[in-house]
């Protein structure tokens, strides 16, 4: 056994490509890539932490010092509201947070009871959470000053105690829809899943139709027919694309079906448990969420996968045709999968959003757009830019694959 072990190890160590792809990539290149992503995430988080937050105050005169705490804090800018329509002001991004002090509210140190403030915002992204945390920090700071004041007074009632613990209670009013909030988590999950399936769905047929044909000797046979190399490569690309796209679409449909089934049963059991809740308002969970996603948005998710799967089909077909044998081709596929997936990870760094710039970053743009489509916050103009930029890249890669396929050095590489 030892003899066989030594021989096998020697062969592997003499296979430079295996060494590069199984040792050098995981030990050197991937850590560098992960470090780069980590740095990018940190810079984006820092950017979010320093982002200017627009705050507005309504009736805050009864809470002296509250506004001042915000205006003194770096990164907050006070804006005046033009109307009483808080929702419109927030959705139009004229203001990020509105603090509404209800009538009768005064400083807890004076009223000796907990006071309730209303805050209006729209928190649906991880960036919003970071911003929200900063707002909470300022409110906490205010609470601390009030607690200090209250500490001087020992004549405490229950209200006094509550007031002492949390002098100001914030009642949050989030204008983000349930779809946006659920989509913030479901969107990236779906993007991860579909993009991973698109890549893996292209892998097996690419191996079969490229290096597999080379190894079986059928590629040479095919080259001797009157069909042009361009036609052959286009046909091969077509099969890889079809297989990849089919895998993704079938999976997407299957997930939708199962979400529907589970939601149906979940709703059924909740109705059984609580017969009085037949108001039609009870949550159907995923079903409610799905019913909010329009057919156009789902169709666009599928459309986004067309140029994306084309990109991976071209890259994998090129790698497969270039490889001398199946082993070499498989060594190429893992890094393609890993490197191809990095832009998806980048897409979900807090603060990354679909804009004109990110709409042109391959793979990242599709992941971001999928998330926005699921959340219902997509800008259809950006989808057009995305589709054009990705289609140009996919077309370019396909052209390059065709040129690559015509090279004698690639076809008869030995």
């Amino acid at each position: 056994m030892w003899l066989v072990y030594k021989k096998e190890l020697l062969e592997i160590l003499r296979d430079k490509k295996t060494l590069i792809f199984s040792i050098l990539l995981p030990t050197l290149i991937f850590p560098v890539l992960f470090f780069a992503i980590g740095k990018f995430t940190a810079s984006k988080t820092e950017e979010a932490e320093n982002k200017e937050i627009k705050v507005a105050f309504v009736n805050s005169i009864t809470l002296p010092g509250f506004e001042d705490l915000f205006t003194r804090e770096k990164g907050f800018i006070k804006v005046e509201l033009e109307s009483d329509d808080y929702k419109a002001a927030i959705l139009d991004k004229k203001v990020d947070y509105i603090f509404h002090v209800p009538a009768g509210v005064s400083l807890p140190a004076e009223s000796r009871k907990q006071e309730v403030l209303k805050v209006y915002s729209k928190e649906s992204t991880r960036l919003d959470n970071i911003l929200g945390k900063r707002v909470d920090d300022v409110v906490d700071a205010f609470n601390n000053t009030q607690r200090m004041e209250l500490g001087r007074n020992f004549d405490l009632t229950t209200d006094n105690v509550k007031a002492f613990n949390k002098p100001i209670l914030i009642e949050e009013n989030n204008f983000a829809s349930q779809r946006e909030k659920t989509g913030e988590f479901a969107g990236p999950l779906l993007a991860y899943l579909l993009i991973a399936l698109a890549v893996s769905g292209a892998m097996y047929p690419a191996l079969e139709l490229g290096v597999g044909e080379k190894e079986r000797g059928t590629l040479e046979t095919l080259l001797l027919t009157p069909m042009s190399k361009g036609q052959i490569v286009m046909a091969k690309f077509g099969v890889i694309f079809t297989a990849s796209f089919f895998t993704v679409v079938v999976t997407l449909l299957s997930y939708l079906f199962w979400v529907w089934i589970f939601s149906f049963f979940a709703m059924d059991s909740s109705v059984a448990a609580d017969p009085d809740s037949l108001t039609g308002k009870q949550s159907g969970g995923g079903l409610d969420f799905l019913s909010n996603i329009s057919s156009l948005d789902l169709l666009l998710v599928a459309v986004l996968l067309v140029p994306l799967t084309s990109i991976f089909a071209s890259i994998m077909l090129s790698a497969s045709i270039y490889a001398k044998n199946m082993k070499e081709a498989q060594a190429y596929m893992s890094p393609i999968f890993m490197i191809g997936f990095m832009p998806v990870i980048v897409a979900f760094v807090p603060g990354m959003e679909l804009n004109v710039k990110t709409a042109m970053i391959p793979v990242t743009n599709v992941a971001l757009a999928m998330k926005d489509l699921i959340k219902g916050t997509v800008d259809y103009g950006l989808i057009t830019i995305l589709l054009i930029s990705t289609a140009v890249l996919a077309g370019g890669l396909l052209y390059w694959t065709t040129v690559f396929f015509k090279k004698e050095k690639v076809l008869f590489r030995s």
């Binding site: 079986r216 000797g217 046979t221 080259l223 001797l224 004698e408 050095k409 008869f412």
Partner: protein, 265 residues
């Protein structure tokens, strides 16, 4: 008729390979500065009804020559004419005229024998009716009806080679190229292949037959072309080649004609 005149093919080394070769003692005179002249000067012809034996040691340039003839590779210099048509200028014409079979050309394993052959018929633009008629004829000739419905991955080596022949001739080419077709075959299967080649002698077809088995050349070939180190060393009647040594044996003639008695590393 096939005419090959002053054919040459040069491959450029990639940077890594060129670096590896630099400073090392040249073991093959075909190696140049960053390039390898796989075929330097090959000329021969093959008439209709004739079987031409293509001989040469491993690495002599036979397969490269045949790949140029079949349009898979483009010549660096020289000319290949099939019935007067230049292969480089009219590759589609050449592809329709050539049937190519080597030990390396394979079949699609998940297709049946009939499906494999029909597929290549379609690739050559034949109608379904033409394909059915030709399959019937060829399968009878090669005794293939018993395994016509079998998937290629279920075939024995001999069956596979017969199916490959059927695939190569379905479009009724005027030129048949066999590159070491009997390598790895048992005696019975090899005989089937040789009988098939023999059946084309005196027909309208030109047959080029590359092999290392000199007894097959003796049996089948009217003329031979010996290639060594990328150049034609002999081209003429088989008898004349054998008579070039005192023993009159093809084996001795072959050994006497090749420069490099050792296999190229």
């Amino acid at each position: 008729m096939i005419e090959i005149k002053d054919l040459a093919k040069t491959f450029a080394y990639d940077k890594k390979e060129a670096k590896k070769k630099k400073g090392k003692t040249v073991s093959d005179p075909r190696e140049g500065e960053g390039v390898f002249h796989a075929v330097k000067n090959v000329s021969f012809s093959c008439n209709a009804g004739e079987v031409l034996g293509l001989l040469g040691p491993n690495g002599a340039g036979k397969t490269t020559t045949l790949r140029m003839l079949s349009t898979a590779l483009e010549p660096t210099a020289g000319q290949i004419l099939i019935n007067g048509h230049d292969v480089t200028k009219e590759p589609r014409y050449a592809q329709k005229q050539i049937g190519f079979l080597s030990g390396k050309t394979g079949l699609y394993h998940r297709l049946s024998v009939r499906e494999n052959v029909a597929y290549f018929g379609r690739m050559h633009g034949l109608s379904r009716q033409q394909i059915d008629e030709r399959i019937e004829k060829i399968f009878t000739m090669l005794d293939m009806h018993s395994f016509a419905g079998k998937r290629a991955d279920d075939l024995s080596t001999g069956m596979m080679q017969r199916a490959s022949i059927a695939r190569a001739v379905i479009h009724e080419p005027k030129v048949l190229v066999f590159d070491e077709p009997t390598t790895g075959l048992d005696v019975i299967s090899a005989k089937t292949v040789l009988d098939f080649i023999q059946s084309y002698k005196g027909s309208e077809m030109s047959v080029i037959f590359s092999t290392h088995h000199l007894h097959e050349v003796e049996k089948l070939c009217d003329r031979v072309c010996l290639i060594d180190l990328g150049e034609t060393k002999f081209f003429g009647p088989t008898d004349e080649f054998a008579a070039s040594t005192a023993s009159g044996s093809l084996y001795d003639a072959f050994l006497a004609s090749v420069n490099n008695k050792k296999e190229v590393a």
